[in-house]
């Protein structure tokens, strides 16, 4: 057995060109240092699933040409405005977009974690979100009468990738209340995690921490990346870097500015 705790580049090895990669929403621990490393490696043709939304992470990957298909319910920079690379990629048709709605993605991951082929979900009927999705079905509730309901196929991404406060030496990862990360790991074939720090105890033996812990059983690799969610936030640890997000929004509004951003903050490995 190889060591579960390894360097960032080693940890990211399972994320291959063309794979289906799942990442969490912008406020749940986005692995931004890892994302910059993937861009430096020149990853491409990704099918990115942002569970259920994304901000800078999806925008950077789109702008750097890493994404072929994007499956999510929204991409924006929140208070910092529209996501410029996402917007221009959709308008120019350079990324295949699978528009969805937040609970649909959660339900599809929950189907995968249960090992069942689909999950029903309320809502959606009569929307263009449903009309655009040929992979979804409407059936009549077999336990009801004249009660149409949408079925969504299970989603098992090749790799789930997120950033968390800490892991122990066995690769157990503390995620706290960001429990959709646990569902993501249950659903994904492999899970790669970056953490702020290594915890010296055994998270599974600590009664106050174990309920918020993803067992190492599901984890392929862990890399230590202090401030690994920067410039996004890590709940309970640090807030979003507002000045940096404003700078990104300003630069990425034009292709030259985005190239300048990539050079300064991704290729030259500059961090806060």
């Amino acid at each position: 057995m190889t060591a579960i705790i390894c360097s960032l580049d080693e940890a990211l090895a399972p994320i291959a060109d063309g794979c289906v990669l799942a990442v969490p929403r912008e406020s749940s621990g986005a692995a931004m240092a890892a994302t910059r490393a993937l861009i430096r490696r020149g990853i491409n043709r990704l099918h990115l699933i942002a569970l259920p939304t994304s901000s800078l992470q999806a925008d950077l990957l789109i702008g750097a040409g890493c994404i072929e298909t994007l499956e999510t319910s929204a991409v924006s920079l929140g208070e910092f405005g529209p996501a410029p690379c996402f917007t221009s990629a959709i308008l120019s048709g350079t990324v295949r977009m699978l528009d969805t709605t937040c609970p649909a993605l959660h339900a599809q991951f929950q189907a995968a974690e249960k090992g069942v082929p689909f999950m029903p979900l309320r809502g959606l009927i009569g929307s263009d979100v449903l009309a655009q999705r040929r992979d979804w079905r409407v059936i009549d509730n077999p336990f009801g009468k004249d009660d149409p309901i949408v079925l969504l196929p299970a989603l098992s991404p090749d790799v789930g990738l997120f950033h968390a406060p800490m892991a122990d030496h066995s690769g157990n990862v503390f995620v706290g209340t960001q429990r959709e990360l646990i569902t993501m790991a249950h659903a994904a074939r492999k899970t790669v995690v970056t953490v702020e720090t290594i915890h010296d105890g055994d998270l599974l033996r600590d009664p106050t921490l174990v309920a918020g812990t993803l067992p190492g059983f599901y984890v392929e690799a862990v890399a230590v990346e202090p401030r690994g969610a920067w410039p996004l936030s890590l709940p309970d640890h640090y807030a979003i870097d507002a000045a940096h997000m404003s700078e990104y929004a300003r630069l990425a509004a034009a292709p030259e500015g985005f190239a300048d951003y990539l050079q300064r903050y991704v290729y030259e490995r500059r961090a806060a």
């Binding site: 406020s27 929204a74 649909a104 429990r179």
Partner: protein
């Protein structure tokens, strides 16, 4: 237990929900998406949707790049979906929450014929559904910078409820792209009381700064504090 939940990019609804909780002495339960300090959820990002699916979330807020007179909202794109002229962030949870939350309050600051249209180009979520479709939820109102509309679910139409101070019914008609009902008497929206303003400025604004630092700073000049 009464619960109000606030989604993404919703600083004005967040202000309203926190204000309601301040006035109610800690109730209703309030959950702001993206907040650690102001949420009652512990089961991750999916709990809001599971909770709402059971009917446990009473109030939610939605907006739209376009909103039409039947209460349909568009959070996706303008023009043909395959070749859009403009793109918005996406539907978020609207294609579900609009159906299952009993009181959805629509908000759109920009009141113009560009935003309030006869028919949306993309239906992120419809204002109403066929009788046999499970639909306990839907819109009850639309708040803009000019006025408050109430929504009549049976006829799927808006009715002008009140016009904000300093604006007129003609101005509302002039800037609204859809037809709506106009009662004979349309009152002026009451301005907030001194006590309401005090609560917003002293109590609510610092709480907002956790999730909406820019909004809290620009509107109230407030920075983050603990609850």
């Amino acid at each position: 237990m009464y619960a109000m939940s606030v989604g993404a990019a919703s600083p004005i609804p967040a202000t309203a929900a926190l204000l309601a909780r301040e006035r109610g002495g800690g109730r209703p339960y309030v959950s702001l998406l993206g907040s650690r300090a102001h949420t009652f959820f512990t089961d991750g990002a999916r709990e809001l949707f599971d909770c709402a699916g059971q009917g446990r979330v009473d109030v939610f807020f939605l907006s739209g790049g376009q909103i039409d007179g039947a209460g349909n909202i568009n959070l996706v794109s303008i023009g043909d979906y395959a070749r859009p002229k403009a793109r918005f962030p996406g539907s978020f949870g609207s294609a579900y929450l609009y159906y299952v939350v009993p009181k959805v309050i629509l908000f759109r600051v920009e009141h113009s014929r560009r935003t309030l249209v006869p028919k949306v180009d993309f239906v992120s979520a419809p204002g109403g559904s066929a009788d046999h479709v499970f639909r306990p939820g839907g819109p009850i109102a639309l708040v803009t910078s000019l006025c408050l509309f109430a929504f009549d679910r049976q006829h799927r139409r808006f009715r002008l409820q009140s016009v904000h101070p300093g604006h007129s019914v003609d101005e509302v008609i002039e800037n609204t792209g859809f037809a709506f009902d106009q009662p004979a008497y349309i009152p002026v929206t009451p301005a907030p009381s001194t006590e309401t303003l005090r609560l917003m400025r002293s109590r609510v604004a610092p709480m907002l700064a956790e999730v909406y630092p820019q909004f809290a700073q620009s509107v109230f000049g407030a920075t983050a504090c603990a609850r």
